[in-house]
Each structure stands twice: as C-alpha cells, then as structure tokens.
Symmetry: C2
Subunit: 597 residues, 2 copies
Amino acid sequence: MPASEGEKIAELAKRRGFFFGAAGAYGGVGGFYTYGPQGASLKRNVEDAWRERFAVQEGNLEIDGPTVMPEPVFEASGHLDGFDDMLVECPGCGESHRADHLIEDSTGIEEAESMPIEEVEALIAEHDLACPNCGTPLKGEAVEEFNLMFETTIGPGSSTPGYLRPETAQGIFVEFPRLKEYARNRLPFGVTQIGRAYRNEISPRKSLVRTREFTQAELEQFVDPERDEPELAAVADIEVRLYPATEQTADDGEIVETTIGAAVEDGVIANAWIGYYLGIAYEWYESVGVDMDRFRFRQHLSGERAHYAADCWDAEAEVDGDWIEIAGFAYRGDYDLSKHAEHADDDFTVFRQYDEPKTVETAVVDPDMSVLGPEFGGAAAGVADALQRLAEREPAAFEGEEVTVEVGDSEYSVPTAVANFRIEEQTESGEHVTPHVVEPSFGVDRTVYTLVAHGMREDEVDGETRTYLDLSPTVAPTDVGVFPLVSNVDYLIEHAETVAADLRGAGFSVAYDDSGSIGRRYRRQDEVGTPFCVTVDRDGLEGDGPDSVTVRERDSAAQVRVPVDDLVSVLLDLRGGVRTFDDVLDEYDAVSTSAEA
Amino acid sequence: MPASEGEKIAELAKRRGFFFGAAGAYGGVGGFYTYGPQGASLKRNVEDAWRERFAVQEGNLEIDGPTVMPEPVFEASGHLDGFDDMLVECPGCGESHRADHLIEDSTGIEEAESMPIEEVEALIAEHDLACPNCGTPLKGEAVEEFNLMFETTIGPGSSTPGYLRPETAQGIFVEFPRLKEYARNRLPFGVTQIGRAYRNEISPRKSLVRTREFTQAELEQFVDPERDEPELAAVADIEVRLYPATEQTADDGEIVETTIGAAVEDGVIANAWIGYYLGIAYEWYESVGVDMDRFRFRQHLSGERAHYAADCWDAEAEVDGDWIEIAGFAYRGDYDLSKHAEHADDDFTVFRQYDEPKTVETAVVDPDMSVLGPEFGGAAAGVADALQRLAEREPAAFEGEEVTVEVGDSEYSVPTAVANFRIEEQTESGEHVTPHVVEPSFGVDRTVYTLVAHGMREDEVDGETRTYLDLSPTVAPTDVGVFPLVSNVDYLIEHAETVAADLRGAGFSVAYDDSGSIGRRYRRQDEVGTPFCVTVDRDGLEGDGPDSVTVRERDSAAQVRVPVDDLVSVLLDLRGGVRTFDDVLDEYDAVSTSAEA
C-alpha cells in the first residue's frame, strides 16, 4: 500500500531536516516540533517573504513583543473566559479528547465546535461514541470547557498569573496608544508582528497543522470606518476561487471563480478591506509556491464567526485530502480596541480632524450661589447641578421667569436670572474615534507544511526514480548547490570552493558538497528543493581556474555550460524569474545529463 | 542635573520606537519589553548579522525548536534542581528581593551569588540590611532558593509539566541524535539557534539587561576533544582586551591588551576553541558597531564557573558606568551530552573512525557444559562465568593442565581442555565518543541595548543641539531616508516617491517622509540612526524627472549632489564600506548644509 501524502511528508521532513517531533529522545510530547536546518531556513524565507509583502511594501510598522503577557490583557480580550475547547475525558483510560472532533469524525456532522455543550453531550450519547484510544463508551460523560491558554506565574509567589499569548495580535492591540504615535496619529496605518503563539490543544494532530506552539504572521490594519478605503483597483482583476457561505449551505453549492473586484461589487465579499487583503494574499501565496489549484478562500458560516466580526474568510490549502486553514481574514470592527479601552488606563482612540472646524452649541448655567446658598442651604449645590442637567436636556425650560428642578423628593424654584442660563459656542477641530480593525492572520508553520506537501514530486531521471521538492526559488532553503564533479581531485575541490565562496559573497545561500557520487549529490539537493546546482568539472578548466561551469536545473535535471564570468548574473536572473532555464539553455550550450550517472 | 545614560536611552527608545516596557496600558509587568518598529528592525538586523557570521560563514547548521519543553529535559540538564536564585521576602511589604544583589549593592562584596545560603543570611544580619522598598530590617528572614524557570502544564490535567526554556541550548542538545545525522556523523560540526528564552527573575532591572523574556543567539560547537582543533591562525592576530581571573583577584590587577594567538599560547585563554570564538566575536562586535573602547572579555572566577566547565569568558560592554555581560563563551566538555545520554533513550555519541582498523585480542572461554554440568550440578553456570572473568583478567591462568576458580566460598578445578580457552582477534573500525561542547552564547537584547547606548551622540548643527544615533549601516533600522525638499510641491513629491521605490527595488530599507520641514525630517532620521538621507530638490530636476539628488551623511550632516544614475551604486558602496563619504565628496559636488534650515 502506498504511504499517504501525510506519511510521505513526515518521512521526508524528518530524514532531510525540515521538521520532526521535538524531544524525541525523551519520547516526545504532542504538538511541539523542531525545525531542522532545511526547515528553519524555509520557514525564515517564508517569514521574510511575508514581511516584504505585508509590512515593507504596504508601508506598515513591524513590532516584536513578548510571548508572556499578564492576565488583565486576556480578561479584556475575552480569551480568559471564551478561549475554550470542549473536552471529554475517557473514564476507562483517562485520555482526553476534543468532544466536537469525536462527533465530526464519527458522524459526518460539521461545525460541532459551535454547538452548545448540552447538544454535544446529547450527540455523544445518541451516536454511542466511544474512546478512540480504548473503546470505552463515552455516553454520559461530562463535556467540559477547557481553556487553551498555557498559564504560568510571573515572579515569585502566585499573585501574578501570566499566559503564553494565544495570538500575536493582542501584543499589537495593547500597545495601540503608543503605536499610534509612531504612526503620527494618522489613520489608516497597519502594524505587523511575526512570532510565536501558543494553544494548549487537547489533542494535537496532523503534524504542523494543529500544534501547541506555532508561528503567526499577523497584520492589524487600523482604519477609520467612515473615511478610509483600500486601493481596491490594485487587486480588482486578480482571479480567485471563492467558497462563500451561501454555497457551503446550498445543496448544489460549488466553488465560485471570480475576480476580487467583482466579488466585492456583488457583495460576495462583504467588505472592501477584506477583498483587498484576499487579493494581496492570493498573489503572495502564488509567489511563494502554493499550488493554486489546491487553494481556495472559504467564507465563515455565521456560526463560526465571532459575534463582532462583520465578515471572515479563511485561506485554505488542500493537503492529503483535507482542506486546512492556512490564514484568516476578519473584519473585527472596533471590538478589540474598545475592549482594551474599557479595561485599561489609556487612550485607544485616534483624533479625527474635521475637514472644517465645527461650531457646537452647548447650554450652560452659572447660578449665582450668593443667592442659592442663603435660600436653599445644604441643598444649594444639588440645585445648581440639577439646573445644569436641565439646561442640557431642555434649554426651553429657561425661557420663562422662573425655572423649577427636583432634587431628591423636593422641588426648588429659581428665578431664571439667578440661573444665568446661556448658550455657548465652542469650536471643535475634530473628534476621537476608535479605529476599526482588519486582520489578516497567517499561520507560518501551516504555510511551510503546504509548501512541502505541494512541492513533493516523483519522476524518472537516468532510468531511476527520483524524489524532488519543487520549492520556489523565493523560499527554497538553499539557492544553489556547488560541487566539484569528482571528490578526489584536489584542484577541482579548490576551484569549487572558490566558486562557492564567490556565490556566497554575491548573497546566495550555498550548499557546498564534495562527498559521494555527483548523482547522489544532485539527489540530495533535489530532495531539499535546491533550485540550481553548479558543478566544476575538468571540461570547464582553463589555465589557473575554471572558465566555465555547468548549471543544472532541479525540475528538468537539464544542464547548461555557463562561463564563470556570467554565473552570478545568470543565477540572479533565474532566482528572480527574470530568465527561465529555457532562456539560459538557448543562450549557452546544453550539457548531456549522462553526467549524473 | 543631567539625566543618566540609562535614562536617556529609555527616553529615546520609547519616544522613537526602539523599545519600551510591555503592556503599559495595564500598568506593565516587570521584565517584559516590546520592540517598536525601529527596535524590531535593529534587533532583526543584529540577528541576521549574527547568523551570517556564526552560522553561514562558519558552515554551521541552524535549527528552530519550541520554547516549551517537557520536564525530563530539565531534569537531565540540571535546571530543575540547580537553576535558582536566592530570594528573601520582606516581612513588612511582602516584596521579594534577590538576596545576593542586596548584599552586593550595600556592602561592596562581590560574587555573593556563589555563596552558600547560610553565609548570605549571616551577611544580611551582620550588615543590618533592610528592604529597599519599605525599610523593614531583613535580619533573621529566611533566604530561599527560587527556581527561575517559568512552569506551565502541557495538555489537560496536571500530569505533564512543561517549562519555558531557560536557554535555547537545550533545544539543540536534546536533538543531537538527529542533528548528527544531518551533519553526516562527522565531527566537528556546529548547530546554532536564535530564539526566545525565559528566566523568571526575582527583580528584573536595568531595562533590556535583566528581563524575564529575551532572545538568545547560541552556537553549540561539537568537537572531538582528541582530534579537532580550531583554525586559530585565522584569528591569532586579533588584538583584544582581556580581564583574566588572575588580574581580577590581584591587588593591582588590570586589563591585559594582547592578541588571541598570544593569549592562547600563554595559557591566559585555556582552550584554543574558546580563543577562536573570542576572536570571531571581537571582530563581529566591532562590525555591528559596539564601541570597542567600552568592551572587554572577562574570564570567570573559579567560583562563577560551573564545575564541568574548563574555561569561561564573558564579553562585557560598559553602559552607564556598569559592565554588562553581553555574551558568554564556555568550554563545557561532555557534560551536556553525557547528561542527556544518561536520562534519555537515544545515542548521544558519534562514531569515531580509526585511521587504521584496529585488531583487538580478547580472551574467551567456551566451557564444555556436558562435562561441567554432571560434575558441578547447580554450580556449573557459576563456574562457567567465573572462568570467563578469569580469562579476561589473567589469561596466563589457562597455561597449565588445570585451572581453578572460586564461586562463593567454594573452589572448583577444571581441566584446561574442558574450559576451551582461546584468544580471539576482532577488528574494530572505530569507537563511540561523546563530543565535547564549546558554547558561544549571545544576548541579542543586550547587544541591541549596547548599540543604542554606544551610539548616542550630541553635537551642534546649524547652531542647534542635535541628537543622533551612530548606528552601523550593517544594523541601522533604515538604510536611507528619502524626501522631497519641500512637502507642498506635487511633482517633487512624485519624483521623491519614485526614487524611494527604486531604492526599495534595489534592496534598501527606505523611510519616505514628506511631512514637516526638511530640517525636522533629517533630525527624525538622525535620531533613529539612518546613515544616509536622499533629498529630491528643484536644483536636481532636468526634463521629466530628477537628474541628481542630494545625499546627506548622518554623522557629519554633510551633503553631496549625486547623479540619479549613480545613486544605487554610491549608496551600496557607502553601506558596504567600499567608499567613505569623503570619497563621495571628492568625486561629486558638496552642497551647502544651510539647506537644513
């Protein structure tokens, strides 16, 4: 039986140093992964590509905050109360399971996550669900909310609880009062953060897809809901595959192929900012090498969506037969900043300048206390306050000779002249608004997983089966492999080392290798997705050093002889997509691939 | 009174977006910092420069592991038992203090950290130390060991404790069995990791110097202690300032100015690998902009050093009158891998191939049990074992007709022929060795702090006091500022935006700014350490676009007019140190700096 795609990924990832379960020497612990040398490089390249597109090119600010945050932050954000999964513990073996997953896996019911606990318990009973580990029936077992935040204690004693952040976003929201100053108090502006986040999953699974520690790349775009519009024209023509909520619930629902512009215009995408970022994201995923035939944007169903979110979409990639969420795009309104403004002691608004200063009329009283005091004694101050409230509520009450107010159970009448009622005009240059938040949130690990899954290829070279990884030159862990053709000729080794050093100096990430047959060295680079290999052979020598070298493309295994003087510019063009390998083959001499034997 | 250097750093860092105490809107919590846009960029550039030097150029492997690790890892590493600070709690206000710091701060005694608890309690009593917070005497209060690891729980229930790693190093050690495969089982090889680490400090202090969450850049160099030598010649001539243990304890001890080569030869640096990395580190710190007049390497005193460490040095930088540790270099022997080999179920050795296969002679017996059995009954097996032990210990005993062994209290004699004694020859191609570890460990945050501190400058420009940050172009958050000279002329703005986009395309990090006076925009970039600013003015226009622009150097505030066509190459050369600004001034026309007004 052939291994599943998931098993093949796990095997390759471990053997070639992409990623593997952490602390395996100690039996491991679920949901924690270590990136080996190839994976660490691939992941960093994905992060750098994201930063370039979503921070640098968009002109956004990037910050880097702590992963441990104090409790009040999560009281405000709602994570302390609501960031739960449903847990059921097996009375037989003691293993904990996610109750909603048990139902979804066994019954075909979807969205069990958004059901009330009682319904979940009822479904477990109704379908006679049993522990997947030991088979003990779970009917009648209590389903409980389990908070997914890792808790710890800051400092000595237990008085200061802290939590590992469940998302990088809160680190941006809590610093908004300061960040708006760096943005010079002008909307719109965006703030990004790339970093670790943590969810204490009940049952981690599917390799990098559901882990307990992961890396997010998040962008919080702060906008003035009345004034700011995205540059939709820049993405309007991008063709995307959408799976709207209406299609998901329809009997004959299907993927909609459309453009961002049309989808926003037709209201399929409810918010222009979301549309803008779906467009940017689509192009970005394509640029880093996601197979766009195995990619879609899926809209959240109303039950999935947080109550404050106006519109939510996920980017999904198909891996091993499942659609996995690799990014989320939410229009969160003013929920986040309002919540922090309620709980914290700082200003989470931005001052919105009016186009023209506005004149505002305010009713005020300035009662003559030298009259009220003797008249009303201890009640005088209360009467003055009541007059001010009345003035604001009902200015017309001051039109007669006398004005009457109630304080407690008593009525007090005051001559209007003593109240000193007047209308004051104030000029206001603007007002304080709480910005709305548009949040594109990317899972870095899941992107890495998708790239490895979508890149795995098998073909035949020189009559032998070859496995290679079709990674985009933008993110491949290594740009170029450099080898001497044979590993036992000192001057070839020396020349190859010089070529490697020169390429490193030109900014390429280089893998130098002089061990084993040339064919084996090519295969090793093929398997880790190195797009090009350069080989120094005798044919290319001239005088004291190499005059030309061969350049081999990973996917076609085709080779071309390139003059050493052109090597850097050829590789730069190939990496940057300025020239294709066919262009290079046209320009220089092809080499017979029998050299791989 | 002028603000201290520390206060000036804090003020600039917060105002300009380098770093500030996290979650300030919630009152903050000690020891956690957020990097703003400038700081996040500076920190990332420091990390990238470290990676380039210590991972890429050294040919080491970089990994990226989880920050949460299970308990058995820290049982093995010793952190669970020994990673403690001494805590004394004030009976008056309840505040916790580090007992050793109280003593050091109040008495001038050094190294209180390495004293036994009883001695620390005695010193508190003897010196009548009081709570720095409320003044309550601490005499008689118990001093306790407080473990500095943040603890949490993995998964539901409390059965799986986890800890936030106190150093990135353990993430490398535990994966050694796998990492050695990626290194193809050949020593020496090095593995690096850059990432968060955590120490639950009793009293965090000094800004980024003693925080509870921080970033480390660590290299674990695995070596064969008998065979591997560093390339000391590459660093032998580097001149360094050393503060050896002997000088620290001498009455007239002083800094020794010497070379790495001489220090290793004279035994001042006890280990050649440590010498090698001190040399590399010295050059690296210089390259990123540490003021080497405020830098030294200090050797650990014997009391500071872990028992297994053969030699330890710290890199120290002077900030605000204090020497702060910014890196540590330790020769750790086989301690780490041996400990994990004891506790974990995996192979932490490397197979060392002999130069020539060795023939090993082993004495074996193969007693004829059909004789021993009837003869000795139940004692027969014991007799056979005793014969084997005797053969290994004393082969000559088998030279006579009969051989005698003791089992328990009885003697047994066996005809030598029955014992079947012989010498076997075995060919062994190598042996398993536990690699030794050389560990250069860098504090990234402390390096950032040092760069800001050492870079702060004040001078006078156009008759006004100017503050600027002298950051190296290698690590400055922004490479170049781009401005239109005035902010109200549309075509200047357009041209400046084009120049900015072109420079971004050429790989520069660019800050575009068209708000406020040109002088103010220069000052803003000066304060965040941007080395160069490019201004588009009317004088440089020609036809449809700019023909030339001015380039201004931060430190001198001098300006030069450069043709637009030369701009990228001039800036590349300036950033790379290929040309100085004086070279550029010689080549092109200087511009009067009155333009800054």
